[in-house]
Symmetry: C2
Subunit: 596 residues, 2 copies
């Protein structure tokens, strides 16, 4: 069935693709290019999260004040950010995924509201809080990908539903937390559910009517995963036939994870979309021998057809839940004296990767947290991490508690996106500084039930008390330029600006501004709740504003968000974050700053 509908879809897709390419994409590209807007969650297609606005700069950011605020009316974790296009701001919420269009000409008064009715049974199927990383706007439509995987296109002027389509089935554990990527005439969407044995896929829908364009799975037959055995490469070599099957035992690939809940980048010149796939299911490595391709993999796919140009698996046969879904930041970097078109990726596994984004060549792979101990290094030829036996949860075996693994399952960095400044040539990375004990156990699969197979506890590295760092990273050399310690993980997305300032939020609730060159703190403000949202900036009426959503939650804040009183309770222990109770409560607020 899958093959048939894909074939049909590919045909429809390329047809509509040719017809519609110009319009929607040009318009969105223009909106992105205007620094007055924050037109897309990632700042731009390159995921640089950099703004050319410089009215707020190193010299005056210390004078910043709160300009206005807005309560979303929803509690729990607020990831993502508002968008601004012209005079309208679009604000989203976690489940139930409300969308508000606010009028910037009228003090943020509400132009329209969209409040989807979703079955609350979706909530317990969401792995790590009810987060949602925000809407996208293109072609006069607001694209909302609900927790229950309903993709809705709303009229951007009125909020009325133009079309909607169902991408997955929460009854099988399929949910959504990611934003969508509107690119050319398509809307590209991922799926969550790696803890429920979901088989990950990326799907492109046609922007005009929601019809399916193409779908590429992370594992399975070549026709499902949209690879060409000869042309699709892994570190320069063809992947060969059945690459998504032959590193799996039996039918495990059918419940194999590799979900796609992170960020998506797009290189218009190469016509490629970049993203990473998540952990193989289950978390118990003994139950799934083999490399488990293409979980934990960076994909470069053709936007029009979905065909993979190249792939790179960072963590073959994962033993630690090091999902590879973090963002791919596109830029040009000098590597070994040569300018390269690169993709930079800070993986959960603690390595910062710099790759040639056209060829898929691995240029740099270095630890971006000195605590990382599960692997000594990444072999540049094979691309394989050299695993340290002591920290191999498979070698230690089922029902054995492997202690002191760094990073913890939530990684040296999770989805919280880094920023890149073309001025300083540095990447600004919100990181976790957390280690764990990990005990895998046998688990059996039931559709829609948790399919985890490991227990965890998480804590700061031995002898340390802080659980996060905000770092500046040189992707050409793979070195940390400066590092600011933070008491908790930095779970907020960063923003870099032409003003020489970098912004991020903290789990206690501070918005911070630091000097892009030195990391020196220039400003901080305690917002209502812990920040796991991403900082954005826009200009309105000739004035620059900086905005961020507060609302503690997400994986790091799940203890607070879900009201767990037992610090060891819930999926993935949150012990080290229990102290958050001393700093903040649940919230859901937008705070907008300006220099008076």
């Amino acid at each position: 069935m899958k093959n048939q509908f894909l074939t049909a879809a590919l045909f429809v897709g390329s047809f509509l693709g040719m017809a519609g390419v110009a319009g929607a994409n040009d318009e969105l590209q223009k909106a992105i290019d205007n620094p007055a807007n924050w037109a897309i969650q990632t700042g731009d297609y390159a995921n640089q999260r950099y703004s050319k606005l410089d009215q707020i700069n190193k010299d005056n950011v210390g004078d910043m004040n709160v300009a206005w605020t807005f309560s979303t009316g929803v509690l729990r974790g607020h990831e993502g950010s508002p968008l601004v296009l012209g005079d309208t701001m679009f604000v989203h919420t976690p489940f139930p995924n409300n969308v508000y269009a606010l009028d910037l000409n009228n003090d943020g008064a509400i132009k329209w509201i969209y409040e989807p009715k979703q079955n609350p049974d979706t909530i317990p199927v969401m792995c790590c809080d009810t987060v949602y990383r925000g809407v996208a706007v293109a072609d006069g439509k607001v694209f909302l990908h609900q927790a229950d995987t309903t993709l809705v296109a709303l009229d951007a002027e009125t909020g009325k539903v133009v079309w909607s389509v169902k991408n997955g089935d929460p009854a099988k554990g399929e949910t959504n937390t990611a934003t969508v990527l509107p690119v050319k005439d398509k809307v590209i969407v991922g799926i969550s559910g790696g803890e429920f044995g979901v088989r990950g896929s990326v799907t492109a829908y046609n922007m005009s009517d929601g019809s399916l364009a193409w779908r590429g799975y992370s594992m399975g037959p070549d026709s499902d995963i949209l690879v060409d055995p000869e042309k699709t490469t892994h570190l320069g070599k063809p992947v060969g036939k059945d690459s998504g099957l032959n590193t799996w035992q039996g039918d495990q690939w059918k419940i194999g994870g590799g979900t796609t809940w992170g960020w998506y980048s797009y290189d218009p010149e190469a016509n490629l979309v970049y993203y990473g796939s998540g952990n193989p299911s289950t978390w118990n490595p003994t139950q799934r021998p083999g490399d488990n391709r293409w979980s934990m993999t960076i994909f470069a796919r053709d936007v029009d057809t979905g065909m993979a140009k190249w792939v790179y698996q960072m963590t073959p046969h994962d033993e630690w839940d090091f999902d590879g879904i973090n963002e791919m930041i596109l830029s040009e970097q000098e590597v070994d004296g040569q300018m390269r078109k690169v993709l930079v990726h800070f993986d959960r596994n603690g390595f910062g990767y710099t790759m040639d984004r056209i060829t898929g060549e691995l240029l740099v792979a270095e630890k971006f947290d000195p605590a990382v101990n599960w692997a000594t290094h990444v072999d540049k030829e094979t691309g394989r991490p050299q695993v340290v036996a002591e920290f191999s949860t498979e070698q230690n075996g089922e029902d054995v508690n492997s202690e002191g693994i760094c990073p913890a399952a939530l990684g040296s960095k999770d989805q919280q996106p880094a920023a890149y400044s073309p001025d300083t040539k540095l990447h600004y990375v919100p990181t976790n500084h957390v280690c764990m004990d990990y005990e895998p156990f046998k688990v059996s699969y039931t559709a829609g039930q948790p399919y985890v197979g490991a227990t965890l506890s998480m804590y700061p590295p031995k002898g340390e008390t802080h659980m996060g760092n905000f770092i500046a990273w040189d992707a050409g050399t793979g070195k940390i330029k400066w590092s600011n310690p933070e008491q908790f993980s930095v779970w907020s997305g960063a923003l870099a600006t032409a003003g020489g300032v970098v912004f991020y939020g903290t789990l206690e609730g501070y918005l911070k501004a630091v000097d892009a060159d030195t990391g020196k703190e220039l400003y901080k403000f305690k917002t209502p709740s812990g920040i796991i949202g991403n900082v954005m900036t826009y200009e309105h009426g000739g004035k620059q504003f900086v905005g961020v959503l507060s609302g503690i939650g997400g994986w790091a804040g799940i203890g607070l968000a879900a009201g767990l009183t037992d610090p060891q309770a819930g999926l993935g222990a949150v012990g080290g974050y229990a102290a958050l109770h001393n700093y903040t409560r649940l919230g859901g607020q937008l705070t907008v700053f300006a220099v008076n």
Copy 2:
């Protein structure tokens, strides 16, 4: 039974009273006298809501900025205000009535949390949103009067329960929304439930251990209502025997309302506590012939014994739900050329009353909203309003829709407290400018079930579009000095300061500062959600701060708070407030301001 326990209680009460007077009261009085604190919800015992702080003043209030913020983690209507005593701020929430102690020396970090477990069945028994008007602090204890009427004393340093006592029974419709008045060695508490046929009472508990000191009902036998037929007066004349029975038919007084959910004032010199009682039950006047004493009544009771010195019934035989529970503001005013110790009260019925608070003499009774039409005037001799037949819902009869009555059931002003400045000698009053249609119908009583007996719809006065005014009132003459129109009711408590500035919040969410002399707007800021909280001020580290809770709700905001999509749904229609949907969403945030 009631008589026995009251006799016993009175004995215990006066004994403990004598023993403990000095300690607790002196300490609290000292805390109130220090303008760095905001030690009691009402600002002081006189309910003036005036601060001697003047660092923020007419000249610089326009430069005010947000200093810090705190999310309470709870949505729905946030009434009342935080308290500040020394370095600690105490913040409360609506149901479930969490209490947070915040450390002002550490950016508002959380010192302790008290999260009561309350039966959610209490929520539907709460008439008009799940509001709570805040805690009190005295004798080293924080007094929390929960929605379910549990009065809890918490150790102010640790948040641990010292004692708790149950004041009522939600199964009978008895709930709480009011703060408590800590006075001398007692904690004085009221009760809600006028829409459930609750018989209102005021109860004094001994601060040390929560034992009952006295309880005075609003209606019933003299021994229940704590009046002396000969000594307790109504406009100078003894009330006579059975005054709480002989204006009721049969046993209706037992389910007669007169609840006590408003604010309490205290005159230390007179040793009197002042408060008002609410509507008689039901809202259908035909079902309860007579004046229904002492519903709708101002009480002056002896703090030690509870005995009433005087009473004054403002709205005999209510036909409109004009509860008399609004605050009594104590001051000295020149009336007819004579300085008098007065009590000023802005009633739901639209009249502003100035009374001699020692003798209970009625000095002034004038309309504080020109829209008021249900009565032409108040007869100063008899104290009776002269009802206009057209707007008498009883004369029009059961099942008849009386149209165009002003004010609406929620009054020209509800509980949102006014402020008084001894500098300007003016009262600053947040008002409603709303009219209604009212159709009474027969209803029968079942314990714990709504016992309302009328349907309403509410809207702005004919030919007008705004639903509120913020006014300055001369209580000596009963005249409006100035009046600022507001689009919606002003449902926030006001604050007057020695800086010549008056603060209040709006339902759209603005905090506003106006010139105390002229009403001229000097500052406004859009907080995260609609404001129904009361503005407070404090000083810390030598700097003045202004704080207010946001969180739309309360009666005016119940449509949003309870998620009603039908503007006519719910208790007391909220039609006119439906437009609030265009301005704000639910919230629960503290915003603290300062001049940099």
